[in-house]
Amino acid sequence: MHIKGVIWTLGILIVLFASGMLLPALVSLYFSSGHADHFLIASALTASLGLVMMKWGGGSPKRLSHKDGFLIVALAWVVLSLLGATPFWTTGVCEDIVDGLFESTSGLTTTGATVLTDLDHIPPSILFWRSMQEWLGGMGIIVLAVAVMPLLGVGGMQLFRAETPGPVKDKLTARVTETAKALWYIYLAMTVLSGIALWLAGMTPFDAINHAMTTVAIGGFSTHDASMGYYDSMWIRGLTVIFMLLAGINFTLHFAAMRRGFSIKSYSSDDEFRTYIKWISLLILLIGALTLLTGSGTWDEVIFNTVSIATTTGFAVSDYALWPPGTAMLLFAAMFVGACAGSTGGGMKVVRVLLLFQQGMREIRRLIHPHGIIHVKINEQSISGSVVQALWGFFVLYMVCYAIVAILLSFTGVDMLTSLTAAAACITNTGPGFGTVGPASTYASLPDAAKGVLMFGMVLGRLEIFTFFVLLVPEFWRK
């Protein structure tokens, strides 16, 4: 392990992150809300820490092992979540230290769970910082670093692999820097497009930028307490649904489609994409039937809320906790399935669920053909046994982690429904749960210990368990 190299890399990530804090300062100046200096202080504090680490690290590491990759990524997410909280403290929006940390972690991991109330009266610079944190975390700040800093090129693939979600990680281009760039360009383009669309649909430019960032990042922070319910516009809701769905698709697929001139075929021939669309359509139909039959909601609410939860975004246009109990269970299940691998969404990812399902079917077909050779296939390609095994390992660990987080939550005195759903909402990076953390309320009422547990769950979920867990195994640290 190259500790110095790790420290240096972390340092440069922190400096990059600190420079990001200057943007909200500009926003503050523009709205003359008087918080620019607070952001400058936060940025300076953060940057100086980063510079010290870089100095101490001595310079760009010659090479990074795969272990270093895990260490850097896991530490970066923890450290940046911590440092991202500084503006919340310096501006005084969060008086409680834990609240600031919670808000920052929730943002960076694109969970979108909030402890802030009265968003409509919070300074715009803070709102912008929240949104921006989600946006940075959406495609992954480390992927961004790999894209913009060629000096990370050598160990780039290790970092890239440790951060990108999904069971199989592809390199789209010959060089990892180019891959990272391609992903960020697509991400940026989608955000700009989404911003313009929302602005044309009637949002203020500021709201449009914020919502574009949190939609495409599948985050779910809003600039209003009523979330998307604030806008009573079919256009805004419709566009948001479309961009949530787009951001929930594997970006590799977007890239492949772009190369072939946005052909529909490159999407429709992808098994994960087809499952994703079918799954969300099924959810909408079932939830719609339950809701409409009981007269507790309308079609557009059903579509919006379902897409929002199924892609793990976390926006809401109405309080779906008031819908019939069946819908709550379906939404709860949808959180776990999540969006596509390689997207900005959370959850276990559609492709994993699809593979697990196919693996199950394979066992059944084996009973019918005892000597049959049956492969698990995605896109007509056999998935190797080791990948399927890793998948089972992931599934078990994911569920165990979920259970542990939920149990720990209940130990802090949270009721059962809230424990079960808040744990799910955080580990899948969705945001709102049910009970006291439902779409109509916030996480503010939870005890500090509960918030700590949930923060742990969010990072665990964002890094898809393994990257984080590998650090907890003693073998990792043995020379």
Binding site: P370, H371, G372, I374, K377
Partner: protein, 459 residues
Amino acid sequence: MNVLILGAGEVGFHIAQRLASEGNDVSVIDNDAARLQRVADTMDVQTVLGYASHPTTLAQAGAENAELLIAATTNDETNMLACQVAHSLFKVTTKMARIREADYVNHPKLFGRDELPIDLIISPEHEAAKSIVKRFQVTSAVDAQEFANGKVQLLGMRIPPKGHLAGIALSELHEVVDGLRTYVVAHEHNRLWRVPTPETVLLAGDSIYLAVAGRDVERLLACMGSEEYRGKSSAQRNVLIVGGGHVGYIVAQQLEKLGTSVKLIEYNPMRAEWLAEHLDRTVVIHGDALDRQLLEEESIDTIDDFLALTNDDETNILGSLIAKKYKVGHIVTLVNRAIYSDLMREMGLEITVSPRLTTASAILRHVRKGRIFDLSTLGDGTLEVLEAEALKTSAILNIPLSELQLPENTVIGAIIRGDKVIIPNGDSMVEPNDHVLLITQGTALREVEKLFEVGLEFF
């Protein structure tokens, strides 16, 4: 003609034999002395020991004067390279290569004067697979061959013991087939194939080939009363393929496209894994096709079609016999060795496919290009089918067929005039530029070819 044949395997051997017996100067190259010895012992050809793609070896075999090169070694790359060498160094006019790998064949841009100079690509496995799939679609016939882009078909079938065909003379056939235009062009009795006359009487157990317009095939089969498979389309059938070699793989792939449900048994575990990876809906089973328990596990009694396509003739024959015991309706057996082909009928296995024969006929077809467009063989190979164009100078024009003096044992089975197909009777006449489908005995082939090639001499 000077011909160079690379590779003395089953395909090379058979082609060499055919071409040599037709009076060509043939040289055979192989790097296996024993195989060459076998060639030298059986036929009158030159043999050269060495690597087929090496210029020295080719020169030694007389590539300088060769007009035709047939690269039929088992290695695709060697075949392609040999054609290139023959083209660049020896200016051999016509080059044919056996290429198995579908990935090469699927990129026609690779081949041409300025690319890989190969005039004809032959792939025995593809040819065999194609004919198996074609037969699969006309199961009540024993054989089906298409000519003139499918406008005319030759259907081979057995005369069943019970049924209205047994015991009638050919002159009475048109009554049985409901006035449908058809022409019996070949008849087999006691394993002797010949071109029939109107007086020929069909007996139970005989085989015949009928020429019929492509669009009438269904109706003809219906008249012949082969009811077994009627009502079951390709998509409804259950097929069991034994052997996942090249042929088995291609057939499975094609049948998948037809929507048939396919099971494939493969003995080699590595190959089975490969097949499971590359086939989409086919159920790949690893095991021994002769294992009774395995066959019953896969419910062989509900199988409609049993295709035995391993590389091993014995396994194919035994497998087919087992399938016959389970009363599988349609059994296709792949047989490579000539000795078995003759035995099949004795064992009650009707339908055999021989990649060697199919490939050889594909090559010979090309060799005889000119006014003759298509050529293949019927039955055991004694009868040949030619599709030829009647030039203005040809001696056969405008004479009613009943008065036409054709070489012995030769008939005109169909006349293709533009888009029209004429199944002839005695009054039909051949007009200029018609394509005619002739069926003739191998010995008369030369004379028939002359009819079309050197028409001027007849004036």
